[in-house]
């Protein structure tokens, strides 16, 4: 079973277009998928789940769409906070540095993080206003500020300066809608991740699709760059 699963929630716009609905209807429909996946991942024993909700590049979208998206996120947080807390999900938000994020949303997000900070069942990281490169640059800055000598900078020490350094490497990335891109998502953490690209659009993504992806992951052999023997078989013993 992968320890850390990440989802790039792609295809909301196309889902809406197929139904001749405004793009925002796709975002609205995505909420059900998100809740379903959180619950399915938790009961399948995944302890770290990351969702790519909003990238630093998404600010380029039309202002109206961004505005509605922010409202939807806020509504979803308020609606599901008690349930997430009751299920022992610790919620974190990665990124979150743009002043354009409405302050009431920031308040709700802070409240959600405070509320669930002691939970240990599963850690849900929502990448919101996130950019993988930005995180790496921030880490480099923080490293320089601590005046670490060059020869002491290793992958491990560097990773300590990333936001939420306790986050383990991502084992499996699911990108829905068949698109095959990284899109600046948790660049450092996905270094050795397995990728699956189901054709289904995100609003239609359900627990069964997640199980299929987990199954596909189990059948793969992870070699971490080695050619002689599989370092880790993710096979049937797990």
């Amino acid at each position: 079973m992968p320890r850390h699963v990440a989802c790039v929630m792609d295809g909301n716009g196309r889902w809406a277009a197929q139904r001749s609905l405004p793009r925002t209807a796709g975002h609205e429909a995505a909420e059900t998928a998100v809740i379903d996946v959180i619950e399915a991942a938790r009961s399948a024993g995944v302890t770290w789940l990351s969702l790519y909700a909003f990238s630093t590049e998404n600010w380029r979208r039309p202002a109206g769409e961004v505005d509605i998206l922010m409202r939807l996120v806020r509504r979803a947080i308020r609606k599901h906070a008690p349930a997430l807390h009751a299920r022992g999900v610790r919620c974190r938000f990665l990124g979150m540095s743009d002043p354009r994020i409405p302050s009431r949303l920031v308040q709700d997000i802070t409240d959600l993080m405070t509320l669930t900070s002691d939970n240990r069942q599963m850690t849900l990281t929502v990448a919101f206003d996130h950019g993988g490169r930005r995180d790496i640059v921030q880490a480099a800055r923080s490293l320089i500020r601590t005046a670490t000598p060059a020869e002491q900078v290793t992958e491990a020490t560097f990773a300590q300066h990333l936001p939420y350094p306790d986050t383990p490497d991502v084992d499996l990335v699911i990108r829905t809608s068949g698109e095959q891109r990284i899109s600046n998502f948790m660049l450092w953490q996905v270094a050795y991740a397995e990728w699956v690209f189901p054709q289904v659009l995100w609003p239609d993504f359900r627990a069964t699709h997640l199980w299929e992806c987990l199954d596909a992951y189990r059948r793969r052999q992870r070699r971490f760059g080695d050619v002689r023997r599989p370092t880790t078989t993710t096979g049937e013993e797990s």
């Binding site: 947080i77 409405p102 009431r104 509320l115 800055r141």
Partner: protein, 471 residues
């Protein structure tokens, strides 16, 4: 100030100072509240409080500053003590004026300051008495001597307080009977402050909870304080005698005494209470940390499940709110020099500035004030009303305000590297770099700092960092 003989020894209060342990007890708050009323009834002090003090508008900030200041005055290290005494003297030297009846007041007045120390001593003795543990003769003498030492530290001598406890009581009774008046400050403290205390920082985000608890606690605090005042004073000031108030007062003092005897020390220490009320104040993990954490989570849940307020985003303060919360520091409805002086005082206290830096800051504020007066005070009454400020805020920032921002940058930038780094920022705003820092760099350049200060001071942009400093 010439050091007295007592001051030359290293720790004038001694290692087992009664006063030092007293100010670390949370229940001393009862005595301080009572002493404040006695001080406010002294006409000169009352006028100074009303004219200059920010305690009605920002009681929690004031409380924290007073606490820090007292602890510094009682510090075992002579340099810390003297530095704080000098700072307080400088601060008080700036507070002088005349009350509406035209009587002069001056915060550096020796007799008035002796009275402040006297009320604190008398209230402490009363606190012990009402708590059911009266001090014996030796303990009272020692406590009195320590209070006189405090006065000597501030004044250079303690000549205005009688030399012994025996002579103290006639002095105290005489002032109570002949000098104290029903000043405006007394009425404000008893009937406005207690009923309208703004939420402590912890509860600022849950106004409903605060309003509910204040509706009960405010009148109770007023009744307890009134009931503990000397009987002749209540008569002369015509303070209300509510049935049951005396029992309540005795209950509160006894309860506090029992709590400080039975509960673990660090539960009832002032530090723990302050950190409970104000998360920014906490220095390390205290006994209340766990409680506060749980309370924070409960509050978060409460906010999340209560209906959401509408989406309109308060990126900009409404002009009225900005005026009331930031500019009008004394809470009297208009801006005058005491308001700006209070801002300068708060910044100087927080950064613990030396005299030259403090002087520069006050001068910058004074220059800004002259400019405001010249430019905005259209009816020439020596103060700027809300309407006058609002009418002109489009033409701001003025040169004076820019100067203030400039000086603020200089005094905050301790290492003179022309940038405010995380540590300096922390010192000024008591919080880490966060969302307010939207630029790409992790330090503030002078221009970015000045720009943000200006946009905050002209009410154009809300900033949580500045709000925490000036509200």
């Amino acid at each position: 100030m010439t050091p007295t003989a007592a001051e030359e020894t290293l720790d004038v209060f001694g290692p087992d100072s009664m006063l030092r342990s007293l100010v670390n007890e949370a229940r001393w708050g009862l005595a301080v509240a009572r002493a404040t009323v006695l001080e406010a009834a002294y006409p000169q002090i009352g006028a100074a409080l009303i004219g200059n003090s920010t305690f009605v508008t920002y009681p929690w900030r004031r409380l924290r500053n007073t606490l820090t200041s007292t602890q510094r005055l009682l510090d075992p290290d002579q340099h810390v003590r003297n530095r704080e005494a000098t700072r307080l003297n400088r601060l008080h030297a700036r507070i002088a004026g005349s009350d509406p009846q035209g009587r002069r007041y001056d915060a550096a007045d020796a007799e008035a300051r002796a009275w402040v120390v006297a009320t604190l001593f008398e209230s402490s003795v009363t606190m012990y008495r009402l708590g059911g543990e009266s001090l014996d003769r030796t303990a009272t003498d020692r406590l009195y001597a320590e209070f006189r030492t405090v006065l000597a530290l501030l004044e250079g001598n303690s000549d205005h307080l009688p030399p012994t406890v025996r002579e103290f009581w006639p002095y105290f009774d005489d002032i109570v009977h002949h000098r104290l008046e029903n000043t405006e400050a007394v009425r404000v403290i008893l009937f406005r402050l207690f009923a309208n205390v703004p939420a402590p920082p912890l509860l600022r985000n849950s106004p409903a909870v605060w309003a509910a608890s204040r509706a009960v606690a405010g009148p109770m605090a007023a009744a307890i304080t009134i009931a503990s005042l000397p009987e002749p004073l209540c008569r002369r000031l015509a303070l209300p005698d509510v049935p049951g108030a005396r029992a309540l007062m005795h209950g509160a003092y006894l309860g506090a005494a029992w709590a400080s005897r039975l509960l673990p020390n660090d539960w009832v220490s002032v530090e723990s209470f302050m950190s409970l009320l104000d998360p920014d104040h906490s220095r390390e993990a205290g006994p209340w940390q766990g409680v506060r954490r749980k309370a924070g989570q409960a509050a978060a849940l409460f906010r999340l499940v209560t209906p959401a307020p509408d989406e309109d985003d308060p990126v900009t303060y409404s002009a009225d709110r900005f005026f009331a919360e930031v500019l009008d520091q004394t809470g009297d409805g208009h801006i005058a020099w005491p308001d700006l002086a209070a801002m300068a005082r708060e910044i100087a206290t927080r950064l613990d500035l030396d005299e030259p830096d403090e002087e520069r800051l006050f001068n910058a504020y004074a220059a800004w004030w002259r400019e405001l007066q010249a430019g905005l005070d259209s009816d020439g009454d020596g103060r700027v009303t809300r309407q006058e400020y609002a009418a002109a805020s489009t033409s701001l920032p003025s040169a004076g305000l820019i100067k203030v921002a400039d000086v603020l940058f200089d005094v905050t930038d301790v290492d003179d590297d022309q940038a405010i780094d995380a540590q300096e920022y922390q010192k000024l705003f008591r919080r880490a770099f966060h969302r307010d820092l939207t630029g790409t760099a992790d330090t503030y350049s002078r221009s970015a700092f000045v720009r943000q200060f200006l946009s905050f001071m002209s009410g154009q942009q809300h900033s949580t960092a500045y709000s925490s400093l000036l509200t």
